[in-house]
């Protein structure tokens, strides 16, 4: 083309082509420098990166070996198709939860540069090939293809199928990220990201559950789902290889074509979103609409709670449980695990009614590092504490807010576990134990909040500021050991009543005794913590202001 036309057009096209190539190389180099500079920041980060790379590589190698071992298995195609489908799902969901993971992912940073969408899309796509994630995916895809491919034709198809599958995954991630970038860079999106850990935890539970089902029922269960998924890109690339192996070339070609069409579609969508993003004003510069907040609810909450300082503190604490993403995530995790452990164990028949104490223990953890949960806003509290009495009221308010949730919840979990195991005679003693444990946790929690405060970073999924991990360990594990020790009298009494003859008639005594013991120890703990808090206000403030 350039030879036929005049030199002017020729150089123009060449320049455009050169520009496209240079944009790609610049973006790739940008990505590499970002990676390198990120690692240069600290030795810990470098170590973490190297460790996670090694881990991922090992994991990938394991998968690769596993998949190669699967070769020849009757259900190999089903397993690999599902695996690739799950991989694609991971790529689609990943950018929503880890938006800050890749800075080149955020096209709004490139908004000021004179770039055309087409070279930009190409550059960003190539840049996103760099990293551990794509490498891992490549291993998985290669392994999957090896597991299903039989015959020269199938291997020939694989050469196209693997890169195609990888590109579909990447384009999917990029398209999803670009479409949601407004959400992701807003406050709501960052709040959402904090909850990502939860989704992963729950997802892991589901996978675990599914794996157990498969173990008992066999891989054959996968076949119907795999039959459908082998037509869905990018899993259809594995489906194509499988079809070609079996000699159905038409089906194979169709499946491969589907993935190619999907790639083209995703690239088109992505490029359109990019164009729109880079040519329209950023929403953050437009004033946000005033959200209509229901005042009645908060007013109602205020009416139920006691008046004065105690009620004010309780109201604030309870609002934060709901509104602060970090606090909310911690609470939801505690509530979920506190319920799942005793109830699932009871379901599987391996449970003991004493596992119900787990709920009290998990919720009690929320009392640790109370001031860290305030972040540097703790100064507002510090300005109003001028005596141990003030500190006592503050800590008591927080403990009461905690009890509003934990007391009914621990009771509910205990009753539920008892009902499932049909151990009604043991209910009073388990409740008594739970309440004693809760009291001990509240006491040690208040004390260690005053003695070992640490910062909780508001961004990301870390719960400890760098350099304060030791403090957090002392605070939580020391506190839990101390709580267990504090509960020894009640535990000893429980054991004694259960082993002595005729002691069973008196186990109901543990309910009032355990409750009274828990209440007493809480009050004592709060008193001790209050005098410490009152004298250590500036130290606590500087410890919690690092995030």
């Amino acid at each position: 083309m350039s030879s036929a036309a005049g030199t002017g057009t020729g150089t123009g096209t060449e320049r455009a082509a050169a520009a496209g190539a240079s944009v790609t190389s610049v973006v790739v180099r940008l990505k590499l420098s970002l990676l390198r500079n990120g690692l240069r920041q600290s030795g810990g980060r470098r170590a973490a990166y190297v460790a996670s790379t090694v881990l991922v590589l090992l994991f990938a190698a394991f998968h690769l070996l596993g998949l190669i071992a699967l070769r020849g298995n009757a259900h190999a195609a089903s397993v690999t198709v599902l695996l690739v489908a799950v991989l694609a799902l991971g790529w689609a969901v990943m950018p929503l939860f880890f938006p800050s993971g890749d800075e080149t992912l955020d096209p709004t940073r490139l908004v000021m540069l004179p770039l055309r969408p087409r070279p930009l899309v190409r550059a960003l796509l190539v840049a996103s090939l760099v990293g551990i994630g794509p490498l891992f995916s490549l291993c998985l895809l290669v392994g999957s293809v090896i597991a299903v491919a039989r015959g020269a034709a199938a291997y020939a198809v694989s050469v196209v199928a693997v890169p195609l599958g990888l590109l579909v995954c990447l384009a999917l991630a990029r398209a999803v990220a670009a479409a949601n970038i407004r959400l992701l860079t807003s406050r709501k999106g960052r709040d959402l990201a904090v909850l990502s850990g939860l989704v992963i935890a729950i997802g892991a539970q589901l996978v675990n559950f599914a794996a157990q089902r498969l173990e008992s029922a066999g891989l054959g269960q996968l076949d119907p789902a795999a039959n459908v998924l082998s037509w869905v890109p990018p899993a259809s690339v594995v489906g194509a290889v499988d079809a070609v192996s079996e000699g159905s070339y038409g089906v194979g070609a169709a499946r491969l074509a589907l993935s190619a069409v999907a790639l083209a579609g995703l690239l088109f969508l992505w490029s359109r979103t990019l164009t729109r993003l880079m040519t329209s004003p950023d929403s953050s510069t437009l004033p946000a609409a005033e959200p209509a907040r229901d005042r009645t609810r908060s007013a109602g909450l205020g009416r139920i709670l006691p008046a004065g300082r105690t009620g004010t503190i309780m109201e604030r604490s309870l609002r934060y449980v709901w509104r602060d993403p970090k606090t909310k995530a911690a609470w939801v995790t505690s509530l979920a695990i506190g319920l799942i452990v005793p109830v699932f164990n009871a379901l599987q028949g391996t449970g003991s009614i004493y596992f119900a104490c787990f709920a009290a223990g998990m919720l009690g953890i929320q009392t640790y590092n109370q001031f860290g949960q305030d972040t540097s806003a703790f100064w507002m509290v510090a300005m109003t504490i001028s005596s141990p009495r003030d500190a006592y009221v503050e800590l008591r308010g927080r403990a009461l807010a905690m009890l509003v949730i934990t007391l009914p919840y621990a009771t509910l979990v205990t009753v539920l576990t008892t009902a499932m195991l049909d151990g009604w005679p043991a209910l009073p003693e388990v409740l008594g134990l739970s309440f004693a444990l809760l009291g001990a946790m509240l006491a040690t929690g208040a004390w260690s909040s005053a003695r070992f405060p640490y910062s909780i970073p508001q961004q990301g999924y870390k719960n400890v500021a760098p350099g304060q991990a030791g403090l957090a360990w002392i605070s939580i594990f020391g506190g839990m050991v101390a709580s267990a020790l504090l509960c020894v009298p009640v535990i000893a009494l429980t054991i004694w009543l259960n082993v002595t003859a005729g002691g069973d008639d008196w186990t109901w005594l543990l309910l009032p005794l355990g409750t009274a013991y828990g209440a007493g120890i809480t009050l004592l703990g709060l008193r001790l913590a209050a005098s410490r808090t009152a004298t250590r206000l500036p130290e606590i403030l500087s410890a919690v202001s690092r995030g």
Binding site: R316, R323, M383, L537, P538
Partner: protein, 262 residues
């Protein structure tokens, strides 16, 4: 330099020191701030203004030295001091998952004011500070200017005798700045003391009647505005002379920028 009468000092600082590791942030500050004035604490970034204000308000423990606010020692008698001061710190968050109104309600009640009184004052403050429209929005979604204003409202709620404001105009738009000025002028007219830090000289010059100049952790000059300014045409000039920042010759180095060396 003239000082206020001994009884008339709102804040008295003696021998205040603070080190962070190797770095000395505040290196022996002695200062008497007269009551009933609009006082500006000025200095370049890193001069120790925030550290000093944090120590004066009891948010940071000094390595050495004493601080008295309206005659009471900040560290030995916090009950008397904390009830009498209002603070707007810089770089510390508010309870920003509360709405503006909830934050004021929380702060006022925590300070021990009766609930009805808190709500009445909060409504007035929100109106005056032009935040009534955003009162049910979470503070985390506020702009910088709005945050400074809600922080100011929270600091004023219990009608303190001395108000400490760390960079109250930093990042604030002109309209909000004017609103804040109006409220502060009204507040000092009632006989209260405002101490605020800033590195914007024009602002300090137009607002304050008493200034203390800080650089490298020490007080370089203090007294009524006119006295500190002396012969210099403006506080900016006096300040640059005091901290020893001479105009650098930028002429030859940036010749590609055009304009020529002057």
């Amino acid at each position: 330099m003239t000082e206020g009468a001994v009884g008339g000092a709102a804040v008295r600082v003696r021998g205040l020191w603070k080190r962070f590791g190797q770095q000395v942030a505040v290196a022996g500050v002695d200062l008497d701030l007269p009551a009933g004035r609009f006082i500006g604490l000025v200095g370049p970034n890193g001069a120790g203004k925030t550290t000093t204000l944090s120590m004066v308000t009891g948010l940071l423990r000094p390595d050495q030295g004493t601080v008295e606010v309206v005659g009471h020692d900040v560290w030995r008698d916090p009950v008397e001091v904390k009830a009498r001061i209002g603070v707007l710190p810089e770089g510390l968050r508010l309870f920003d998952r509360l709405s503006g109104r909830e934050l004021l309600a929380y702060t006022g009640r925590l300070r021990g004011l009766p609930g009805a009184e808190v709500d009445k004052r909060a409504t007035q403050l929100l109106d005056v500070l032009d935040l009534a429209g955003a009162q049910h929005k979470l503070v985390v979604d506020y702009s910088t200017g709005m945050r400074k204003k809600i922080g100011l409202a929270a600091a004023l709620l219990h009608n303190p005798e001395v108000l400490f404001l760390d960079e109250p105009f930093e990042g604030v738009d002109p309209v909000s700045a004017q609103t804040i000025r109006g409220v502060l002028e009204r507040y000092t007219a009632s006989g209260a003391t405002v101490v605020f830090s800033s590195h914007v000289m024009e602002l300090v010059e137009s607002l304050c009647d008493w200034v203390a100049v800080m650089a490298a952790g020490r007080i370089r000059a203090h007294g009524p505005l006119a006295e500190v300014r002396g012969e210099a045409p403006s506080l900016q000039h006096a300040f640059l002379e005091l901290v020893g920042a001479h105009t650098r010759d930028t002429g030859s180095a940036l010749d590609w920028l055009g304009g020529g060396a002057r």
